[in-house]
């Protein structure tokens, strides 16, 4: 307990924190209360920085000292199991950079863009407070628990602390979540590339570029990652520049012009081929490129927002909080809280916080900076994505994100529908935006990536003006998102394959052998088939797919976050620190509530999958065709898809309820015990092993 004493703050320190608190409150008041005139994005940035600093300094420290009771004098796994490879005591800034690179992905960029339909305020508040009280708590606590348990994985900790059955249930949930993640991310790429020869060409170019890099790294200059990534970057930029020529030349453009259906099939075949090829040839080199590009682009976006200081054109709160929005259906509660997942609370992070990061921490005293601090950085990325979307003309935003079933297929029709919603826009403005970004149309490009790309392109164009540069930056942003989504699809398919082989191995042992060619192809086919099914379903969906799949993804991701936070709650009680159980317990309950209510609304009621299935079933029985189905077969397919989605939603809800049951059971048992029952690894003093840990 020696460490739980917090150092008293000096008078100057207290003054400084008081000033930060006042600045934060003032900025928040401006963005929340000013009406009628546009708010500058800098207010939002300043509010976020102030709130994150205060959260990190006070709540983060409270968790470190009181709840987790991190002890810098205790030897961490990196010291105890130092092998020079996986377990290495590493400089805290290096661990922080590695951890952030692992948790940052497409999620925090997409969710806030979709949520902007309700105005910028609801999303902003959920990101700011959700992360300080929920998301960062989850990442930090899971990291803290793992560091105390020889860097064990989330699944392992669940089995140990909640029982074997809970572990199996969570594993199943994780596999399902992964399939939905892969499908929805692949759908984002499909939406961005549909009838976009320029985008498709430059994304297609990443394949030969990666192959070239792979060969270079294998034989020409082994292991020179930075060097080869620079070469790759130059080639990528050239492919974007040449893409303009491809788009402008009809013979070339027709080679790269695909509809959503064909793109879905291309991605499915690609996913299969890419994940059975050796990793060094395609996956690894593209992974390097996408990691560096991702960090570089996030930095670029931050610089652009600060220099361009855009006005937020979206209203603070739009009329669509009532649930009638075109981007996703459902009211503010609970749908805002599952739409923005990754930027404020992301269950997926609990996998990383119990993966490589705890093996690298050189002291428990650094867990707050890496776990809590890393997640605050991620939330900042989400805030930037929200700013990029909210600084767009709202008419352009809704034209890009509403399904064609709502706004039609022409700029005239779209402009008149959107103007009726109160966001006045002319067909001319829509056509000019499309022309500026070098595309034929901007209508119905849901999925976040294209909207963010237009926002980013306009911001970057503000600080780096030039003829035709908006189009270049737009395609740069699309390429950057597509690149790391494809890497995730590829790597995720591989991980899914190992999980499926593990499960199949329980039934027939030889299938478990990951070196076996038959087992490999079989498991890969199943894995690609699973996510491919949802991707294809999304690509042909009348409402554009994102509308259907994103809520499923959000429910699944928040379900995993709820599971991770429930684990943290159980362990806190098992350590007999039940007076702090609310720290992980309240966000866990909040997420359980959100996932269950959202799941329930998707299961029964007007916006549910069940209602959609019934609508088409009734029409089919009456021999009617409902748009966009063009045949009775298509009608049948829509019914099947909606029934599958409804079943999946029910499964997620059962999973959450089961995990809640396991947690309550474990908590009641722990409360009955008079001694701590959590299974921590025994304490070893750092001083006693320091000499071993060179």
């Amino acid at each position: 307990m020696a460490t739980s004493a917090m150092r008293p703050t000096s008078l100057a320190g207290r003054l400084l924190w008081a000033v930060i608190a006042v600045i934060g409150a003032a900025c928040l008041a401006v963005i929340a209360l000013r009406r009628g005139e546009p708010v500058n994005a800098i207010w939002l940035v300043a509010a976020a920085v102030a709130i994150f600093l205060i959260g990190y300094r006070f709540y983060g420290k409270f968790i470190e000292h009181r709840v987790l009771q991190m002890d810098p004098s205790r030897a961490p796994p990196s010291v105890l199991h130092n092998d020079g490879l996986d377990y290495v005591p590493t400089d805290k800034w290096v661990v922080f950079g590695h951890h952030f690179a692992a948790i940052a992905g497409a999620g925090p960029l997409v969710g806030p863009v979709l949520a902007a339909q309700m105005g910028y305020l609801p999303g902003t508040l959920w990101i700011l407070f959700g992360v300080v009280l929920g998301g960062a708590v989850q990442d930090f606590m899971v990291l803290g628990l793992s560091v105390r348990r020889d860097a064990r994985s989330l699944g392992h900790m669940l089995r140990e602390e909640l029982g074997a059955l809970a572990g199996v249930v969570a594993m199943f949930g994780l596999l399902t979540l992964m399939m939905i993640v892969l499908a929805v991310l692949a759908l984002v790429v499909v939406k961005a590339l549909t009838h976009s020869p320029w985008g498709t060409f430059s994304v297609a170019c990443t394949i030969p570029i990666a192959l070239l890099m792979g060969v270079y790294l294998r034989w020409l200059r082994p292991g020179r990652i930075l060097e080869v990534s620079l070469i790759g970057l130059v080639l990528l930029i050239s492919s974007i520049a040449y893409g303009a020529h491809v788009a402008a030349t009809p013979e070339l453009a027709s080679l790269f012009d695909f509809d959503a259906r064909s793109l879905a099939w291309l991605l499915i075949s690609y996913g299969f081929v890419a994940s059975v090829l050796p990793v060094w040839l395609l996956l690894a080199p593209r992974d390097y490129l996408s990691t560096f590009l991702k960090i570089g682009t996030i930095v670029l976006l931050a610089i652009a927002i600060i220099l361009a200081a855009p006005q937020l054109q979206m209203p603070a709160v739009s009329r669509f909080i009532d649930g009638t929005g075109p981007v996703f259906q459902g009211q503010l509660f609970p749908f805002l809280f599952i739409t923005i997942a990754c930027g404020s609370v992301s269950g997926w992070h609990s996998i990383i916080a119990s993966g490589t990061t705890p093996k690298l921490l050189s002291s428990e005293g650094e867990a707050r900076m890496v776990g809590y601090g890393g997640m605050l950085m991620e939330a900042f990325v989400a805030i930037m994505a929200l700013i990029a979307a909210a600084s767009l003309h709202p008419g352009v935003y809704f034209a890009m994100n509403s399904p064609s079933a709502v706004i039609g297929n022409t700029a005239e029709h779209a402009a008149s529908v959107i103007s009726q919603w109160g966001f006045v826009v002319t067909p001319d403005e829509l056509a000019r935006t499309a022309k500026d970004i070098g595309e034929t149309s901007i209508l119905s490009r849901a999925g976040g990536a294209p909207t963010l790309a237009v926002g980013m392109a306009q911001l970057l164009h503000n600080i780096l003006p030039g003829e035709g540069m908006v189009a270049f930056w737009y395609h740069y942003a699309i390429l950057f998102e597509a690149l790391f989504i494809l890497t995730t699809v590829d790597a995720g398919t591989r991980v899914g394959r190992f999980m499926i082989q593990e499960i199949a191995g329980l039934v027939y042992a030889p299938l478990k052998n990951t070196e076996s060619w038959i087992g490999n192809v079989l498991a890969t086919s199943i894995c690609v088939g699973l996510w491919g099914y949802f991707l294809y379903q999304g690509a042909v969906d009348p409402l554009g797919g994102i509308n259907t799949l994103w809520p499923l993804f959000g429910i699944a991701n928040q379900m995993l976050a709820a599971i991770a936070l429930m684990l943290a709650t159980v362990v806190t009680v098992k350590l007999k620190r039940e007076r702090y159980a609310w720290v992980p317990g309240l966000p866990a309950l909040w997420l359980v509530t959100c996932t269950l209510v959202a799941g329930f609304e998707k299961l029964v009621g007007p916006i549910s999958f069940t209602a959609a299935a019934q609508k088409y079933t009734q029409a089919l029985q009456g021999g009617q065709l409902l748009a966009p189905a063009k045949s009775l077969n298509e009608m049948q397919r829509i019914i099947t898809n909606n029934s599958v989605d409804a079943t999946l939603t029910a499964v997620f809800m059962l999973l959450v309820l089961a995990m809640l049951g396991f947690s309550i059971h474990a908590i009641l048992n722990a409360l009955r015990s008079n001694v701590p029952t959590a299974r921590e690894a025994p304490r070893v003093a750092l001083a006693s092993v320091a000499s071993r840990s060179t």
Partner: protein, 62 residues
């Protein structure tokens, strides 16, 4: 911190983000703990790490 040191840290972070830990640290570890083992070249070390990275649970986020 000197510029050279800063650059080293940046390279180390960048490599670690791609799943390649610090080679010098590994060599030092082998020398002090397992003097009987052969020291791999950087190329061999890199290949082994590259294969190892994609076997686990992915280590990346959506």
């Amino acid at each position: 911190m000197t510029l050279q040191k800063l650059w080293q840290r940046l390279v180390q972070t960048a490599r670690l983000s791609c799943g390649v830990p610090d080679y010098d640290v590994y060599v030092a570890h082998l020398r002090s703990h397992h003097p009987e083992r052969k020291i791999p070249t950087y190329a061999e070390f890199f290949r082994e790490r590259q294969t190892a990275r994609y076997k686990g649970t992915g280590g990346r986020c959506c």
